[in-house]
Symmetry: C2
Subunit: 290 residues, 2 copies
């Protein structure tokens, strides 16, 4: 009988793993490092190893494991194949086949932001809703659009790839997608860190962020909570980019709810404040309270 | 037996009327002026009069008329009621009830851009597709999003209201919606005329557009066809706003096709050229050929 399942979220920095009851109950969660070496060839073997290790550690019976659900940062087709996942340095990978062979378990794969959106609709911030925009702020910016309870996968698997919406004409640095001025370059963990470094380099204003050798999105929001003036400026810049972009997305599909997830969202309500203000300012009147 | 139907498109300047066979064949088409006086109270009576006049002129039997389909520039709910249509100076109007009583015919009402999108999917540029973004360039900029053959009406009836996507931070003039820097302020017939007047006022460069007292979108694109340098600059500005915005919309729902309609689209392929170039430049790679 199916009792357990594994949920795997492959990110550009870490791979988040979870052991769940089939009803969605979290039984265990842990992380492993994402090894990007040699075009990310170790990623799926590492995932298989950690699943098998956890199965042994918990003395799980294989017949009680329903399967593995895995989210990939890139477009994934219905057969579970990836053509290219830039943040993992992957070209073509058949995730379902490869991970299925390595683990001997049933595998389902999807775009990380899309499966995150489905998860939020099932158990999380979107529970009870049918029409939702989910934004995932991690190493990159992902998105999942759900309308009528169904993922909008899109004609080219690019539905909800809102991290690659062009939002800034002045940026000359190239995004992983080849474009420039993409939302992901400004509102991801990496983007926030870059906004911070740029501001720190442009002035001599004291800031607790200067004590860190590597400024991260976490450093920034921790400093915001301490009232650090420069960190607040960075949060305002980030919030302005994201809030304004969300206002545009909202006028396209007019969702009931917008859910923000991903590592950066761990900053909590303070982050939401900086995003909500510009959203309300730039949103179409009927969407302003979304 | 149902043989005929009327199709009415209420715009801010003219009301476009059509008599159709129920298979979609165009039997007659004509226009009347949109009377905006006294909060647009004459609009529906004028529509009823012209329908009844055409019925008499063509000696149509009432029993052979399936009904009237009418598109309104504003959100229309499932019951055919409008809460507010800014371009018609309307507050609450029950279109289905009022026009039904005035004509004695069955009436269906919808948002103009949404019904235009459904029409294009049935008989027009979107025939054979299921996932489409339709942009209507008229007095305003409307939009209709169709996914899986269904209109995305949205949680607040604002799905596809892409004319009110914020695209320019520098604009201080207010849009009808209360926002500023909306796509509609820059890429509608009115918006194009304003871009032209602004450019003409800013320099002394000769232009055929200067011969017209009132520069319109038609003046601009006629001048573009004659190779007028200033008109080409206006077309580039317009195309840059619209193409860039479409690239953002495309990454949200990833449609199979984008269809451009409305009065301004009568300018033809020349308009498309100016929109396509920035679209391809700013679109996510997988959507670039949409």
């Amino acid at each position: 009988m199916d009792k357990y399942c594994f949920g795997i979220d492959v990110g550009g920095t870490t791979i988040k793993c979870g052991l769940f009851g089939v009803d969605g109950e979290v039984l265990d969660k842990w992380e492993i490092r994402t090894r990007l070496e040699e075009n990310g060839k170790y990623i799926l073997p590492d995932v298989a190893d950690t699943i098998l290790a956890k199965t042994a550690e918990k003395h799980l019976d294989r017949d009680e494991i329903a399967g593995v659900g895995i989210g990939i940062p890139g477009p994934v087709n219905a057969a579970g194949e990836v053509q290219v996942a830039v943040n993992l340095y992957w070209g073509y990978v058949n995730v379902v086949k490869e991970l299925g062979e390595l683990t001997g378990l049933k595998v389902k794969a999807g775009n990380d932001a899309n499966v995150a959106a489905l998860g939020e609709l099932w158990q999380g911030g979107g529970a009870g809703y049918q029409d939702m925009i989910m934004v995932t702020l991690g190493t990159g910016v992902g998105g999942g659009i759900i309308l009528g309870g169904q993922i909008v996968a899109g004609a080219h698997g690019a539905g909800g790839e809102i991290g690659h919406a062009h939002v800034d004409d002045t940026m000359t640095a190239a995004c992983n997608c080849g474009g420039h001025g993409c939302l992901e370059q400004l509102a991801s963990a990496t983007g926030i860190a870059k906004l911070a470094r740029k501001l720190l380099d442009s002035c001599d204003t004291p800031s607790v962020m200067r004590e860190y050798k590597n400024v991260s999105a976490k450093t920034v929001f921790d400093a915001v909570k301490e009232g650090d003036a420069l960190a607040i400026q960075v949060a305002e810049q980030f919030g302005n980019y994201l809030g304004k972009a969300l206002a545009v997305f909202a006028v396209v599909v007019d969702p009931q709810i917008i859910v923000i997830g991903g590592g950066v969202s761990k900053a909590g309500p303070v982050l939401l404040d900086y995003v909500t203000k510009p959203f309300r300012e730039y949103a179409f009147p009927s969407c302003r309270t979304t």
